[in-house]
């Protein structure tokens, strides 16, 4: 396309968006005082933004279609791929001599982070929060990323975990360490219970049913006052103890931070092992093609159910931790937006990729914390990210790598 045609098209787009956003962006009515506010400057922003945006949009679309064309070409051999220079971040990930030092540096940074002079309690807290989302993201990654089941009701299980700890403590005085496995167990049971009837459904129906279940769970928690104390929630949930040690708030925060790191490591370990196990490969096969997978003898229902149950387990664990972290639970923490946030972590990071999910959680949780001005636009951006990622980079920041099994001939077979 020539430059003039490009500009003309962008002008049309800009005019269209100025028209489209006119009533919502420009006019604001105050129905109580009967004032109408005209914000014409917003129209300029919308026009300029869409004018520039449409150039980027066309460029990215063109790049995407060019990349798709390249894939259709002759199959590249393994040697040719290896001969290409790998970018540094790939080398860091894949080659041993870089990978282990990098990991150790990361471990050291993670260990000394809370003791650095410039880290405040607040900063440790938000990193802990990000780690909590790493856990949730990795849990959801089992269901969405590996098994390819779009689960929009993940918070329901998160809520089950949080409320199990809150209620078990309230009624029986059970502590954090007992509640942790119990909450996970309850969430798993809940997952299996819901999974049985639901998993026969096709992908998009599954999405909406899980969403429905999550809303039911939240509404029940909100309205069943005798059971869950309604919208006011349950307060006074104790933080986890450490052999009866007394800690001040800062100390408790640091303790919690390390607890979270340990739980994340456990999650990473388990998910990694699961991914390459028989059941993990069954999940990936299921995601790629359900019919072919069943034809190969994989029990699709069982595989889906395990994915669902294991995903729920992690939500339950994270729920207990969340209750202990905030010392307070109420239904407002478990809305659909929370599910959407966890889903966008998985989508942004890369479905099926552990590293991707970790990066995704840190980006999505920490960026709004550090850029305060931008935090009210957070959900707006999440929505935008979900759309843009699906269109331009469906594999996410880090592509989930499938393990490749290579076939080597014995030397004597070779002629």
């Amino acid at each position: 396309m020539t430059a003039i045609a490009q500009i003309r098209q962008s002008l049309i787009v800009a005019l269209w968006f100025m028209f489209l956003t006119f009533p919502i962006l420009v006019i604001r009515v105050n129905t109580i005082e009967n004032i109408i506010e005209w914000r014409w400057v917003n129209m300029l922003y919308a026009g300029a933004g869409s004018f520039l945006g449409s150039f980027a949009w066309r460029y990215l679309l063109e790049r995407k279609s060019r990349a798709a064309g390249k894939d259709g070409g002759p199959v590249r051999t393994a040697e040719a791929t290896a001969a290409e220079a790998k970018p540094w971040w790939r080398r860091l990930r894949e080659e041993r001599q870089y990978r282990y030092p990098a990991l150790s540096v990361l471990a050291v940074v993670a260990t000394i982070f809370p003791f650095l002079p410039f880290t405040s309690t607040y900063q440790i807290n938000i990193v802990t929060n990000a780690l909590l989302y790493v856990m949730l993201g990795l849990g959801l990654n089992i269901v969405v990323g590996l098994a390819g089941l779009l689960h929009l009701g993940y918070v329901a299980f998160y809520a089950v975990g949080a409320y199990s700890y809150a209620l078990l403590h309230y009624h029986f005085g059970i502590g954090f360490w007992t509640a942790l496995p119990l909450g996970a167990l309850l969430a798993t049971l809940f997952g299996i219970l819901l999974g049985f009837p639901v998993l026969r459904l096709r992908g998009d129906y599954l999405a909406i049913v899980t969403l429905g279940f999550a809303e039911i769970t939240r509404l029940v928690l909100e309205n069943w006052n005798e059971f869950s104390f309604g919208p006011s929630g349950i307060a006074g949930i104790p933080r986890p103890g450490l052999f009866g040690l007394e800690m001040d708030l800062h100390g408790a925060t640091i303790y919690f931070y390390f607890l979270m790191i340990a739980l994340c490591l456990l999650t990473i370990f388990v998910v990694n092992r699961l991914q390459n196990s028989r059941i993990g490969r069954a999940w990936v096969a299921l995601r790629e093609d359900e019919t072919a997978c069943e034809a190969m003898g994989v029990n699709a229902t069982a595989a889906k159910l395990t994915a669902f149950a294991l995903g729920s387990t992690w939500a339950g664990l994270a729920g207990v931790v969340f209750a202990a972290k905030t010392t307070f639970v109420n239904p407002a923490s478990f809305t659909f937006l929370e599910s959407a946030m966890i889903l966008s972590i998985v989508v942004l990071g890369g479905m099926g990729s552990i590293l991707g999910v970790i990066l995704g959680a840190f980006i999505l949780i920490l960026t709004p914390e550090y850029l305060r001005a931008f935090s009210e636009y957070r959900m707006l951006l999440f929505g935008l990210i979900m759309v843009m990622m699906m269109i331009f980079r469906p594999q996410g920041i880090v592509k989930g790598e499938r393990r490749i099994y290579e076939f080597h001939r014995k030397p004597e077979d070779r002629e």
Binding site: L20, D204, L384, V387
Partner: protein, 300 residues
Amino acid sequence: MDYFLELFFGGLTRGSIYALIALGYTMVYGIIELINFAHGEIYMIGAFTALIVSSVLAFAGLSGLSVLFLAAAAAIVYSAAHGFTVEKIGYKPLRQAPRLSPLISAIGMSIFLQNYVMLAQTSDFLPFPSLLPDLPFLSDLEIGIGSTEAIILMTTAVSMVLLTLLIKFTKMGKAMRATAQDRNMAMLVGVDVNRTISYTFIIGSTLAAIGGVLIASHIGRINFYIGFIAGIKAFTAAVLGGIGSIPGAVLGALVLGWTESFATGYVSSDYEDVFAFLLLVIILIVRPSGLLGRSTAQKV
């Protein structure tokens, strides 16, 4: 008996509004097999546009039916424009992608539009003026139906008839049916598929805008979040009747409206939304193809 009638008409009104929104879901699903999560937001934008335009007009000194018609027209134009744009940006580049991709894109669109309206307008509930005129002769008839309800029922009925005529007898309707049956084949026989899909979104959004104006006048207040719940309920209605089927969507919406109305009237009003979701879950488990839908065997 009076109470029963009241609930019956309440359910009918509710159901007919759900039907207007559900038709958008069902038409889009029929044609590109996508649950258009952003559809509820289109309806919300329709309601907001109507509120803004009617307030501006009221400020300018207009009143009565002219406000209603201008506000409704603006709502329809803007909803249709939003529906069209959402499809062009969010779904069109993903025609060939795996099924999950457009679905996630649709969820993203829905979140984006909700927050766009919240940031540009307000997160509070806004009072919506009652635009619908009074029909005094109805109170003389004493059948337990108010004028708002009557107008809603009539508008819905007229819209349904028009839609049916449009789909049955126009060239565009024929193209839509062909695309829904088999997109590639439709393309081969010369149907402009992209344009047909755009039309589908525009028609669905128009119906949603009508629903938005009606329900907002009926309830009397709106905020940016109304589209989410209404969208899910309308989707429930579409699934209930058999997604992809237009009479099914209407039937499903009426069943849903009555279920909600009677359940809140006789059981408990706290769990109003729970009944809708429960109905959805039960239907999907017992009869995934819906009341009027046909179950199709998966071809390999």
